[in-house]
Every structure is written in C-alpha cells, then in structure tokens.
Amino acid sequence: MSNSFTRFTGTMAPLPIQNIDTDQIIPASYLKVTDRSGLASGLFSRWRYRDGDPEGQPIADFVLNRAEHGEARILLAGDNFGCGSSREHAPWALVGYGFRAVISTSFADIFRSNALKNGLLVVPVTEEISAALFDAVAADPATEVTIDLEAQTLSLPGGGETNFEVDPFARRCLLDGTDQFGYLLNQAAAIQTFEAANPSRLDTRSA
C-alpha cells in the first residue's frame, strides 16, 4: 500500500450525506480479517448491494455503481465524514477500492488520523466550496479537480483554486513517502529517559 501523496487529478464520486459513520464505510461483519486485504468489496456494502451482500445485486443508483462515476478516485462527501468507530478498516477499504482522497466540510478526528497514515488524503473545504463541487459534479460527472499536497491547493471546477489545511507532519510524511512509525522509533532514547524518570504504578501481569 503506497503511503505517499503529492498531486492527484481526477473525477469525484458524490455522496451528499452528512455524518457518514465508519459502520457504513465498512460494516462490522468485515472486521474479522487479520490483514488489510479483501476490504474493498465491503466498502459501503449496505448501500452498494441488495441485502448488503457483495455476491448479491448491486443497487443501481448508489454512486459507486453508476457508470459515470466508475473511474472516480476522489470521494466527495457530506459533513463530519468518518464519525463513529476507530476502525482503520475504513481507510483500508477506501484505499483498497482505489480512492486517493476524500473531500468534505469536516472529518471525525480518529478517521482523519487513520486516513493520513494510509496515503488517503482528507481535504477539508468550506460549505460554499463543497456545495459548488456537488453542483459541478451533478452538472457534469466528468468534472475533474486537482489536489496538490505540496501547495495545499484544490483546483476548482470553474477555474481558480482554494487552499486547504492539513496536519503539517502528516503532510511531510506523505510528500516524502515516509511513515510516522519510523519517526517514533527514532525517539527510543527520549522514551527511555522518560521511563526512568516516571516509574509506573501499574503491572498488568499482577491480577
């Protein structure tokens, strides 16, 4: 799984629903895996297939089943995307399906943190821009936008661009293709010093 992101141009799949929770992104029945694979078929499965079953019939008007959005690699979603459970299976499923970025007016904290660790960029925009993007995609599903992480800009369909906020550390990791784990592992000496100065009151092996 690629952990980098620099610049991406593509079409958007519109999902104009607020508060999309991680149970909808990937239902609990898919959480019995012990690796990260095989989650793409479960992505939005309850909205995507009849009876939520990937073997079953696709629900024709759900965005991921519509031919005009088949190639979309950017998800355009309603406010507070990714609320609920902390399951990292949600970004794994989105990335597994092929999404590179999610645009919304806001993101739940844990989802945002999980997404950025998996090369899935979260792009927060204002309500006006969100509404304009939904309108543009409704008028022409082939509307493309460009997300430039280096410049922190999102190109707008009518011309022009907007800046977006991103956690600077996550941004640097994504641009360099490095991961946060390595950065943390390099702090071993500081951690040791901290532990020596702050002995624990707890031993979980004691009960």
Binding site: L184, R201, L202
Partner: protein, 478 residues
C-alpha cells in the same frame, strides 16, 4: 504559584516525552505522548502485531498492556470454543491470532473461559487498571469510558496500536478542552445515559471534534462511578475523542482494593497525587456548555446517529425544525427507521430489547433493569437479551439473584461480551426489527443489517421490555 490548569492539561503535561514542535524547523510536529495503559482486543490488533513482526520489533511494555476477547465472542452459553470454530471460523481464527500474539510477547490475555474476561472498557476500571492521571489507549473509540476515573483515555487506529506496542508512545497534537457542565439534580427516572444523550443532542455528533470533554457540575458529581463511565463512554458520539471527570472521593472509594490498584503505602502516595489532579480554580477551557440537569427527561433516539435524540414524551422533529442543508440526511434517517416527522415514539411496538454494551452493562445497570423487571413479565413475543459486561459482573449478578429476576421475567441471560452492540458474534437484529438498546450507536445496520435501534437507558429498556413498546419508565414505576 503557577498558572491554573485544567485536569486535561495536567495529565497531558505529565506524559509529554517530546513536546509539540514550536521551533521553526520542527513546526507542526506532534508531541510524543507516553501511554500508561494499552488495552488490546481481537478485532483491531492483528495488523498491528503484523507491523511489529515485519520490523522484527518486540512489544516494549507487556506489563502496561492488557488484552481481552470481547467483540466477536459468543454470548450463547451453549457455544464453546470447539463449536465456535465450526460456526464462525473467521472470528475464531482472529481469537487464535490474539492468543498467539499475546503468548509471543508476554502480554496478559483474558481469553475465553477466563474469570477476568469481559468488554475491554468494563474490565479496565473493574480491575483497577485504569487510574486517575493516567493515559489510556485502545484500538476502540469507546476508550473514552476510562475518563470517568480521571484518566486521559482515547481510541486509536490500528497503525497507532502498532506504535504503542512498539514504543509505548503516540504522536499526538494537543486537543482543545470543552467543559460540559451539568448543573442541578436529576429527576426520578433520569439517569447517566439520559444526561449524555441530551448532551449529544445539544452539541450534535460532530460538536466535540478536536476537543476533550471535561464533565463538571452537580449532576455529574452526584453520579456513582458506573454512571460516570456511561457518560464518558459516549463522549466519542459527541465527536470528542476523550471525556474526563475529575477524580474525587467517589473515585477513590471505587478504586480502593481493586486487583491492580495501588495498595498499602503506594495507595497513600497515589491518593496524594490524585488529589492534585482536578482542574484548578480559575483555569479556563476553550469552550463551555451548560445544561440544567433538573430539566432533563428520559431520552430516546429516533434516528440513525446518537445525536438524533428526544425526550421520551416528545415527538420526532418536523422537517422545518431541521436546517435546510441537513434535511436530506434527516429524511434518509427517518426512511431507514420507517418513522414520520412529528411522530410520537412512546407506544411504538418493538421486537427486541438489548441491555448490554460498554455503555450500560455494569452491575448497577443490571440492578436498575432488575428493579423494573422484578416480579414482572417480558411482553409476549418480545426478545430480551441481558448481556453482562464482564464475567465478574455476571458472577455477581448470579450470586445476588439479579440473574434469576431476569430469567423469571422471561429474558435471556447471556455470557459477557459486546454482543448485539455491534452484532459481530451472531447476536443481531433481523431486517426491519426495532430494538430498544442500552448501547451507544444507532447507526444504520449497527445491530444487524436492516435493524432499527432506539438508544435509551437501562430503565427505559426494562420498562419497554414489559410493555413491548417504547415506554416511559416513570409510568411503569408509578
């Protein structure tokens, strides 16, 4: 004297291994935060252990790590490990994975059959493992529960589970603080669950994003520890990763004598320390909201997120009470629930009652439900599941006769686990069924594909169990 600090700031500062980047070259770097207790369960850990294996890393502090099996374990007493392998090979493989990983790394694990096993957020406080002033994390969003003892406790993703296993640390940006003040005394029939449902209804489910809640005020102080856990548990449903309540005598008497709590001289030292934790006079929060606890009613949700809640005697909002840009999502929720704007929930027939989950499966929750059900019968045709939060709660309830009250009333008395809260283990609603549930999430399909959830307190759940309809407990008790 130093600047007045909030409870959150005090805990945060004690755990910073490396501060957030302020120097130009380090701008925007997160802080490295030390973790005092890492709780682990079967569902969100396998890929984290794999990440360690790929790098050849050991678990840094198995003595600060504790694992349990809860999410996908069966609660049907007739299903043993052997049978589980047949009926749920995937779930059972995940449990085997956890067992193997814990054995390899020397992490204490409460596996199936262990008397200390239970829902991760029930056993932490029950064992005295979660203590005031600690940082506690788990690959589970309801880790906020442990904030009830005055610990900074929050859910993390699986990548972060790997980080903590390997380094006992997390990279974190400092969240903002949000005081949720609940004044006054609760009315009869109104309990902790109603407080938190009212808070979320007020703030909205994204209202706490980027913040840590600290619950204050008379109504909060008057709660027992288990009620405080119910409140903190659902902080995440308000968008806050953590919720805190300052430790006080209620906290200390709850913790004293528990298996992992400090004892003897260490207890006295700990007490001195813990007494210094509460927010200082004059400290300020980034935001504050105040609710009048004495005006609260029993609450029930009508929609598909926990913020869509109303007083039980109220009605589903009309369209025009919803902001225009939210109307489409509101209608989608009502379609899913097969409800109409303006409809009363009270009297709505239901199919299932679920008393359980890390929100409301502790001993006092079962006492509350049993007090309503004692000497009464569950409505004809209704399925009622009572699922204790831990094996210890189960044993105590059996010893004290609560279990018998449930069985006599016609309810199912189950083994401990997450059960129908997330319906991973076969305990689930059938499509179209309505449940009154004491759990924390009424998301579409959360309790089973097509299932419809009304979240409420154990009192409301028990009252509804008797009538087979959504019921105001005050009518049953009067």
């Amino acid at each position: 004297m130093s600047r007045p600090q909030t409870l959150f700031e005090k805990i945060w500062r004690r755990h910073v291994v490396a501060p957030e980047g302020v120097a130009a070259e380090a701008e925007g770097l997160p802080a490295t935060l030390y973790v005092d207790l890492h709780l682990v369960h079967e569902v969100t850990s396998p890929q984290a252990f794999t990440a360690l294996a790929e790098r050849g890393l050991p678990v840094r502090r198995p003595d600060l790590t504790l694992a349990t099996m809860d999410h996908s374990t069966p609660t049907d007493p007739s299903i043993d490990t052997a049978r589980l392998r047949v009926i749920d090979p995937e779930g059972s493989a995940q449990l085997d994975h956890l067992q193997a990983n814990c054995e390899r790394h020397g992490i204490p694990l409460y596996a199936m059959g262990d008397e200390r096993r239970g829902i991760v957020h029930v056993i932490g406080p029950e064992l005295g493992a979660t203590q005031p002033g600690m940082t506690v994390v788990c690959g589970d969003s309801h880790t906020s529960t442990h904030g009830a003892v005055g610990a900074l406790a929050f859910g993390i993703g699986t990548s972060e589970v790997g980080h903590v296993l390997a380094t006992q640390c997390l990279l974190q940006h400092r969240p903002k603080t949000y005081e949720i003040r609940v004044d006054g005394r609760l009315q009869e029939g109104v309990v902790a669950k109603d407080i938190i449902l009212a808070v979320i209804a007020r703030l909205g489910i994204g209202g706490g994003t980027g913040h840590v809640f600290e619950y204050t005020g008379e109504a909060i102080r008057a709660l027992d520890m288990e009620g405080r856990m119910t409140v903190c548990n659902m902080s995440i449903e308000g968008g806050a990763r953590a919720g805190l309540i300052a430790p006080d005598e209620v906290t200390f008497s709850y913790l004293e004598g528990r298996a992992m709590a400090p004892a003897g001289d260490a207890w006295e030292t700990a007490l001195d320390d813990w007494r210094s934790l509460p927010t200082d006079e004059g400290a300020s929060y980034d935001k504050t909201t105040t609710l009048d606890g004495s005006a609260l009613e029993p609450m029930v949700t009508y929609g598909t997120n926990p913020g869509m809640a109303i007083p039980i005697a109220g009605a589903v909002p009309e369209d025009d009470a919803i902001e225009p840009e939210k109307r489409a999502s509101f209608r989608k929720a009502l379609d899913y629930m097969a409800l109409e704007p303006g409809q009363q929930l009270q009297g709505k027939p239901i199919d299932v009652v679920f008393v359980g989950s890390c929100t409301n499966s502790r001993y006092s929750d079962l006492v509350a439900a049993a007090n309503v059900l004692r000497g009464r019968k569950v409505a004809d045709g209704l399925r009622v599941l009572i699922v204790p939060g831990s094996d210890a709660v189960k044993r105590q309830a059996e010893r004290d006769g609560l279990a018998q009250v449930f069985v006599d009333a016609g309810a199912e008395w189950r083994e401990a686990g997450c059960s129908m809260c997330l319906a991973m283990n076969g305990d689930q609603l059938a499509p179209g069924q309505y449940a009154v549930s004491t759990s924390n999430r009424n998301f579409e399909g959360r309790q089973g594909a097509g299932g419809r959830t009304f979240l409420a307190s154990p009192l409301t759940a028990a009252a509804s169990a008797i009538t087979g309809r959504v019921t105001d407990v005050r009518e049953v008790l009067s």
